[in-house]
């Protein structure tokens, strides 16, 4: 069942079209990743979905009902984790959790009980009474996440929730998010970390310049690049133009090039051995050819013409 449907959302700031006709859907028990570089339109899209911005065009539907027809109902169904650590630094972790629980509509008793559960689940019980300003970055990120979960939202909107923290803290948070979907919650996860999108998300939408360029599961996206056939060629390519090589342009597409290496994708499904044979027959000295499975970075590279580095 669809929890969230964004339908042709658009938003313009002055002369800048930040989001241009973005559509996607988040279902129950699913993690949908919105992957793109900084400034791609991820946060603007998320802001329209949670009601911080009104779209210039398009519509947001939460559990089948338009967001703006009943914003309070929609907000009760969702939990939002902002990119910033938007918490009270002078309050303790427990006090922050309890406050945001009360804001989400819980009674005092329910907020206290739920805060205790979350502190334990997020491994923060030992520091629960300490002021947030004494926490490490990773601990603050965990509280930041927990504050959106007090009322057990059906839809969770996470805006780059692991920015600026170490790998171990990131893994803890990602594992926690995976557990949430097992209870049926749907997650919209914006990130510019490829690895997170690859390992965490069930489906991924690649966004750049306010437009969704491709969408699908990781294998679906990978298939867009020559059915899992990418060839890394090592040799001297400083003054060469691969597209001018006889038969190359009909069979391959260059994804990335340097003086010493070419990364090419096969255009059609074929036996990898045939691809290797065709590459080795090219009129250039090639020292080594490696067959590799396309990564999300390479998908992004193919779609946008630039890399998305972590």
């Amino acid at each position: 069942m669809s929890l969230l449907r964004a339908n042709r959302l658009s938003k313009t700031f002055g002369s800048v079209r930040a989001v241009d006709g973005v559509s996607f859907e988040v279902r129950e028990g699913e993690i949908y990743g919105l992957l793109g570089p900084n400034g791609a339109g991820k946060t603007t899209s998320l802001s329209m979905i949670c009601g911080l911005l009104k779209p210039d065009a398009g519509e947001v539907t939460i559990q089948g009902q338009g967001f703006w027809s009943d914003p309070l109902r929609a907000r009760r169904l969702m939990g939002v984790v902002p990119q910033d650590i938007a918490l009270y630094e002078d309050l303790s972790g427990r006090e922050n959790l309890e406050f945001w629980g009360r804001m989400a509509g819980l009674t005092a008793r329910a907020a206290t009980a739920r805060a205790g559960e979350l502190l334990e689940a997020l491994a923060l019980t030992d520091r629960a009474r300490d002021a947030l300003k004494t926490y490490s970055g990773g601990m603050k990120r965990r509280v930041n996440l927990g504050c959106a979960l007090l009322h057990r939202p059906r839809l969770l909107l996470l805006d780059e929730p692991t920015v600026g923290i170490d790998i171990q803290a990131r893994m803890t948070i990602l594992e926690f998010i995976r557990q949430l979907t097992r209870d049926g919650a749907g997650v919209l996860y914006t990130t510019h970390y490829l690895e997170e999108a690859e390992t965490l998300c069930d489906r991924i939408g690649i966004i750049d310049h306010g437009v969704i360029l491709a969408e699908g599961t990781l294998p679906e996206l990978q298939r867009r690049l020559g059915e899992n056939q990418l060839f890394a060629l090592e040799g001297g390519f400083a003054d060469t133009t691969p597209e001018s090589w006889p038969g190359f342009a009909e069979q391959f597409r260059v994804l990335q090039r340097s003086d010493q290496q070419l990364l090419v994708a096969a255009l059609k499904t074929r036996d990898p051995a045939e691809g290797l044979k065709a590459l080795l027959a090219l009129p250039v000295p090639i020292r080594n050819v490696t067959l590799k499975r396309p990564t999300l970075n390479e998908v992004f590279l193919q779609l946008t013409g630039r890399e998305l580095r972590e």
Binding site: R75, A86, M103
Partner: protein
């Protein structure tokens, strides 16, 4: 409603946790109350200052002691004849009592030391005369009452202690007295610091929450925009009432300002004024983006409003033009109401107009804060 209370409670908790809050809420304002109250203290109520007079009493009878007592009643403090401070003196001759009882004339010797022109010293002569009139009156009254029987010490003291059949009460006529001392400095500083604190704390906290993303997060909660604004306003109102409570208690019990007589009307006036200041604070935080600018602007706005509103000096000493300018600010109306209630002793009826105007200021500021609130 629950959201409003939660936001207000949380903001109050955050304000009161800051140690600097207490400095601005209590320590600094009360320091100014004391300093300004002490500097601007008036003459106070009508009192008889005590002045010193040299006395050489050579009499060993009871009438000499009675003269001394009558001099004390007139505010004269008797010192030994060798005292250099006293500039006037009197000598009671030996055998004074005996000669009076024998109905013989006795002269008391009055003398001056140097040519002192101190008005207080000059008052000694008048008081001495009044003391001697008292003693003579007692003797005459006793003689009339007893048909000329010799007076006894007990009888004369009984007459001296008797309540006077005629007393004089004095009060201010014409215009009301000018507020002075703590009756001016307590409400003046309270009105000024309420405005300053609530504008600075309110404006800075709204700006800070907007900067660190807390405000955006609040706006993703199932809370209406109006509830968010009112939560912020109510948090500041609660903070202001904490300051009001502390000031009124200290004013009543430590500084002797008359709060008790009209405490409820004073509280209502200040609560409405706090609402005005809190709304202005939220408004400032909404229309000014950066925290540091908010603080600067709030100081620049609140201090002139305090001065022009009569928080620093009584408006009674200002020109009519400045008195009219004060009516443009909530501080002017708040001070006018508080003077009616504290200094002039009026009840609700006397401050009704001022309280109503303050409420209009509150409504306008609150609507403006809601209209321009920015998360």
């Amino acid at each position: 409603m629950n959201a409003i209370l939660q936001i207000a409670r949380n903001d109050l908790r955050l304000f009161l946790r800051e140690r600097t809050s207490w400095i601005w809420l209590v320590v600094l304002p009360l320091g100014f109350v004391y300093f300004m109250g002490f500097a601007a203290r008036g003459p106070g109520g009508p009192v008889t200052p005590t002045v010193e007079v040299r006395l050489a009493n050579h009499d060993d009878g009871f009438l000499g002691r009675l003269v001394l007592e009558a001099m004390g009643e007139q505010g004269l403090h008797v010192v030994p004849p060798e005292n250099a401070e006293a500039k006037r003196g009197i000598t009671i001759p030996a055998g004074f009592t005996d000669r009076v009882l024998a109905t013989q004339r006795v002269d008391l010797e009055f003398f001056k030391v140097g040519e002192d022109t101190d008005p207080a010293a000059a008052m000694v002569e008048l008081r001495l005369v009044r003391a001697l009139i008292v003693v003579n009156s007692l003797l005459i009254e006793h003689a009339i009452a007893t048909g000329g029987a010799p007076p006894t010490e007990e009888a004369l003291r009984g007459l001296l202690r008797r309540e006077n059949p005629v007393t004089l009460r004095s009060s201010f006529a014409g215009r009301k007295p000018m507020p002075v001392g703590f009756s001016l400095s307590l409400p003046g500083n309270l009105v000024m610091y309420l405005l300053l604190n609530l504008m600075v704390f309110g404006g800075a906290s709204v700006a800070a929450e907007r900067r660190n993303g807390v405000m955006r997060r609040l706006m993703t909660q199932p809370v209406r925009g109006a509830e968010l604004v009112m939560g912020k306003v109510c948090g500041l109102i609660a903070l202001g009432l904490v300051q009001v409570g502390i000031f009124l208690l200290i004013g009543q019990f430590l500084l002797g300002v008359n709060i008790r007589d009209h405490w409820f009307a004073i509280l209502v006036t200040l609560a409405i004024y706090v609402w005005v200041a809190a709304s202005l604070g939220v408004l400032a935080g909404s229309v000014i983006k950066a925290e540091e600018k908010v603080i600067g602007v709030c100081l620049l706005v609140s201090l002139p409003m305090a001065a022009l509103g009569g928080c620093w000096w009584p408006l009674e000493v200002a020109s009519p033009a400045l008195q009219s300018v004060a009516l443009a600010f909530p501080t002017g109306w708040a001070m006018a109401a508080l003077h009616q209630l504290i200094t002039f002793g009026s009840g609700f009826a006397g401050a009704r107009e001022e309280i109503a105007v303050l409420a209009l200021f509150g409504l306008a500021a609150n609507l403006a804060a809601a209209r321009w609130f920015r998360g």
